[in-house]
Each structure stands twice: as structure tokens, then as C-alpha cells.
């Protein structure tokens, strides 16, 4: 609100005040109106959601991105030790399943961030503030996604440019499980009692890893596809589903969603 608007608001209060300000009641009405006008003006100066996200980087971004880098480094080290530095061993046959495993493990650092508020007893206070739990969750998901996108880009570039693998296979076995699993995690976070979210998400993640391994062992045909337009639609559907769920939770007021 501009200064001129505050002034015109106050003039309006003054002209609408039917009780003359010579008497106490009239003066009190004016003081009250002036105070309300001041408070409205102050309240209108609030940060936007995107500014809120930027501020969250300071509070949670560093720890989330730090964990994500650590996971990426752990995946690289595990592979390096397993193949004794000879990455050529992983090419072709084993690569798709390793990409699927990577997508599972890259999502793991996101899980503690989702339940962080409840874990440290902050959920109630956060829910009662202007940017409620849902906005906070969305901000954290934006931060997590930014880190994930960067890691996926690094992995994809490393495999495609560094190892000369097919971009189609890399995108299919890295991105599609990533988006689908991410969407499942968000669904769990929004619909399951938050005390069980971490356990259920971990179980789903481990279940997915087991499924990928079983498919590798007994149904290798699963890993012989390449990325096609249909898969892009699947990824887009997963992202749209996430957005719809978050918006719906926000409209619902989010009370008790994350408490």
C-alpha cells in the first residue's frame, strides 16, 4: 500500500466517523481506524511465495543439497569400488538397472526433508503461520527438485558424453523411475499419517530397488527399451499429478495434513 493510499484511507475513516471527535467516543473511533489503516498497510508488505522459497534455501537448502551431493558421491564411489575403476564393465547390459537404482537412491535425501517439521516438533507452529505447512513443503520440494535436476543432468551428461551411451536409454531408466517414484512419495506424504511417511517411503524405495533387481535377473526384456514420446507423457502426468495434489492440499487449508 502506498503512502497516499493510507492517507486517503484515513481521510475516509475521518469523514465516515459520525461521532464528533470532540467527544471521547469519536476520538477513540478515529484512533482505532488509524491503527487499523496502519496495520493493513504494514500487513500488505509481505514477501511473495518465491521470495519465501529463496529464504528457505538459507534454512534448508544447504543441508538438502549437501545430502544430495553426498549421495551422488556415495553412488559414484560404490560403483568405482565395485568395478575397480573400470567403468567399461558397467556399460551396456548392466547400465539400465544401475540407472534405475540411481533414481531410487537420488530420491532418498528428500525423505527426511519431508518429515523434518514433525521430527523436530515444528509442524504446529509452521502450520499456524502465513506460509503454512503446505507452502513450506512445496518450497522444500522445489529446493529438492532443483538439486535433483542438477544431479540428473550431471549423471546423464557423464553417462552419455563420458561413456557414449544412448541418450534414450539413459533418459528412460533414469528419469521415468525418478518422476514416478517422486510422485508416489508426494502422494504418501499428503495422504498417510505423517508419523509413518518416512517408513512407508523407505519401504517403497527399497521395494522399487528390489523390483528392478528382480527384473534384471528374470525379465531382462524390461531393460531393452528406449525413451519414446509415451514415456514423456508419463513423466508429465506424474508432475501434473504432484501439482494437483499440492494445490488441493493447499485449498483444503492443509490443517492436519502434516500434523
Amino acid at each position: 500500500m502506498k503512502k497516499s493510499e493510507i492517507e486517503s484511507g484515513l481521510r475516509k475513516c475521518f469523514s465516515e466517523n459520525t461521532v464528533p471527535d470532540a467527544v471521547r467516543g469519536g476520538r477513540e473511533n478515529l484512533i482505532l481506524a488509524a491503527r487499523q489503516a496502519y496495520r493493513t498497510a504494514v500487513r500488505e508488505k509481505r514477501i511473495s511465495f518465491w521470495q519465501f522459497v529463496l529464504y528457505q534455501i538459507k534454512f534448508t537448502g544447504r543441508s538438502i543439497w549437501g545430502t544430495q551431493i553426498a549421495v551422488l558421491a556415495a553412488i559414484y564411489l560404490t560403483l568405482y569400488i565395485t568395478v575397480n575403476g573400470d567403468f567399461a564393465y558397467l556399460w551396456n547390459r548392466r547400465l539400465p538397472v544401475l540407472l534405475c537404482f540411481s533414481s531410487v537412491f537420488l530420491l532418498l535425501p528428500a525423505l527426511p526433508a519431508i518429515v523434518r517439521s514433525l521430527r523436530y516438533g515444528m509442524a504446529e507452529l509452521e502450520q499456524a503461520s502465513r506460509f503454512s505447512s503446505i507452502h513450506l513443503l512445496t518450497a522444500r520440494l522445489v529446493i529438492i527438485s532443483a538439486g535433483d535436476i542438477l544431479m540428473l543432468a550431471v549423471l546423464t551428461a557423464g553417462i552419455v558424453l563420458g561413456m557414449g551411451q544412448s541418450l534414450g536409454a539413459v533418459v528412460l531408466y533414469l528419469l521415468v523411475p525418478f518422476f514416478l517414484l517422486g510422485s508416489i512419495y508426494i502422494t504418501i506424504a499428503l495422504h498417510v499419517d505423517v508419523q509413518h511417511v518416512l517408513k512407508i517411503c523407505l519401504a517403497v524405495g527399497m521395494g522399487a530397488a528390489l523390483l528392478f533387481w528382480l527384473l534384471f535377473q528374470y525379465h531382462y526384456g524390461f531393460y531393452e527399451h528406449s525413451f519414446q514420446t509415451g514415456w514423456a507423457a508419463v513423466c508429465a502426468a506424474a508432475v501434473i499429478c504432484d501439482i494437483i495434489q499440492l494445490r488441493r492440499a493447499e485449498r483444503k487449508g492443509a490443517a492436519e495434513v502434516l500434523l
Partner: protein
């Protein structure tokens, strides 16, 4: 400005924690008195929008707080009974974090944090991790965060637990001053002295229902003629404790004990009626809380 609680209820499985509560809160300090388990915290959570009622509604200036959503939370300050913090946070980090959640712009939040650190005498510990603070200091940090956005509706659940007597007095003065600027302050407590002298109005809650509403002066009339002072021989204290609801006692020099007790009729010979206080009403309505008081 008014906050109307309209036929509000909350049921947890088969237990009704809050049952058809209606109350009109106007600017000033409101005391919500009740023993543990009376439903105060559940009511406050519903007022804060962190718990959905199973029945009824809360209206701020005639509009449901669920409809107002963000606009209501913008003018709302809340201190829950139990609140946590992220372990890596210093006092300043915590207040900054809460200021961001409340949507305060950086400059405004900086000014407000400095002001509150000063007022809550936390300036010296601003860089200290909250985990390392004493219980009273943590509570003060909690109170400071509730005041960050200069709320028009301030709800404090057991705000003085853990505060020493000096801090309690400072806190009461702070709230009195805060509420004088046309704001609604609701304090839930089972420590009567927290609200006895500063509350514009009190509501007494028991079994999920509001049992009485009024100013301190109005409420104490409910126990007029039920508060007595008498003296008993020291050796007979246990016997009298079984028979009477003793709220206070003092050892006299002559080996006798002066007692203040609650009863429909005098239960000790030569008893004289005493001027009732809010605490007497509280203990009359919640006789079981005598033990809480003794523990406090």
C-alpha cells in the same frame, strides 16, 4: 474486532475433547482456565486452524477462519504448549525462520527481531543454539516468535510454564501492554495468578465445555460465602485435610495452623468468611487440581 467461537466441537474417536463451545472474544486479555485435560489445548488448536473441528466454526469479524486462511494466519500469533526447534538453529536463526514463515520482509523482520530480543531479554543469547538454553529462555523465544508479526489475535497455550516469578511478572506486563492496542489475547493456563490481574475476562473450561465466563470480579462471586479462614491444632491437620478442601495453610507461632478452605458451610469452629479470589473459584470447580497446585 471479534473472534466468535460458534458451537465448536472436537471428537477424537469416542472422546469429545471440546463439546459445543460458544464464546465471543473481544479485544483484551482473556484467560482460559481449566485443569489438565479440560480441552483447552484442543480448543486453542482449533482457533489456530491447526486442528479441524468436528462441529461448529470460528469466525473472525464474521468470516470463517477457514475461508480467511492465509489472511487469518497473517494476523494470528500462536505459542503452542509444546513447541520444537531445529537443532542447528540459534535464537536469531529461529526468529528469522519464523519471520520468513510469517512473510515479513527482510528489513521489517530485522527490526522486529532486534526489538523482541531486547524486550524478552534475549539479546545476550542471540547467537546461542536454542538447544543449549534453559526452559525459561526457550519459552521466551517461543513468546517472541508469537509476537513477530504483531498479531491481532494472540493465542498462548500455557505460556508461563518454566518461567521464574520475575519473568512471569514481566510477561504479564508485556501482554497487558500488548492487548491495550486493540488486540485479542487468549491465554490458556492452569496457573490462576497468570491471568487474575491482567485478564479483561476469563472463561473456565471443564470436561470440554465452558462452565463460566466473566470478569475476575464477576467470577469470584460464584464462590461468595464458600471461602473460609479458620485455625486448627497442628496435630489435627491430616484429619481436617480429609474433611475439608484446604486451599492454603500457614503455621502460627502458637503451634496452631491457619487454614483457608472451601466449603458450603463453615467446617471449623470460629471460622470467618474470607474474601474470595479467582484461585478459590478455580479450586472449587477443579478440586482435583489442588494436587497440581501443590506440585507447582
Amino acid at each position: 474486532m471479534e473472534l466468535i467461537i460458534d458451537d465448536l466441537s472436537k471428537k477424537f474417536k469416542d472422546k469429545e475433547a471440546v463439546s459445543h463451545v460458544s464464546l465471543k472474544l473481544t479485544p483484551g486479555v482473556w484467560g482460559l482456565l481449566g485443569a489438565n485435560g479440560a480441552g483447552k489445548t484442543t480448543l486453542m488448536r482449533m482457533l489456530g486452524g491447526t486442528l479441524k473441528p468436528t462441529g461448529g466454526r470460528v469466525l473472525y469479524d464474521g468470516i470463517s477462519i477457514q475461508v480467511l486462511g492465509e489472511k487469518y494466519r497473517d494476523i494470528f500469533g500462536y505459542l503452542p504448549q509444546e513447541f520444537g526447534f531445529y537443532p542447528e538453529f540459534t535464537v536469531r536463526d529461529y526468529l528469522e525462520y519464523m519471520a520468513v514463515l510469517k512473510g515479513l520482509p527482510k528489513r521489517r523482520s530485522k527490526e522486529k527481531i532486534e526489538e523482541l530480543l531486547e524486550r524478552m531479554t534475549l539479546s545476550d543469547v542471540r547467537k546461542k543454539k536454542i538447544a543449549k538454553l534453559s526452559g525459561g529462555m526457550k519459552r521466551r523465544v517461543g513468546i517472541a516468535q508469537a509476537l513477530l508479526n504483531e498479531p491481532e489475535v494472540l493465542i498462548l497455550d500455557e505460556p508461563t510454564s518454566g518461567l521464574d516469578p520475575g519473568e512471569r511478572v514481566r510477561f504479564r506486563n508485556l501482554l497487558s501492554e500488548f492487548a491495550s492496542h486493540d488486540r485479542i489475547v487468549l491465554i490458556s493456563t492452569h496457573i490462576v495468578s497468570d491471568v487474575e490481574y491482567i485478564a479483561t475476562c476469563n472463561a473456565v473450561m471443564k470436561g470440554g465445555k465452558i462452565q463460566a465466563v466473566g470478569t475476575t470480579e464477576e467470577l469470584v462471586t460464584l464462590v461468595n460465602g464458600k471461602v473460609w479462614n479458620g485455625t486448627i491444632p497442628a496435630g489435627q491437620l491430616a484429619e481436617y485435610e480429609n474433611r475439608l478442601q484446604i486451599v492454603n495453610l500457614r503455621n502460627e507461632a502458637d503451634g496452631r495452623i491457619s487454614v483457608r478452605y472451601l466449603a458450603e458451610k463453615p467446617g471449623i469452629e470460629d471460622s470467618v468468611p474470607a474474601v474470595p479470589r479467582l484461585e478459590d473459584l478455580y479450586l472449587w470447580m477443579f478440586p482435583e487440581s489442588r494436587f497440581d497446585k501443590e506440585a507447582d
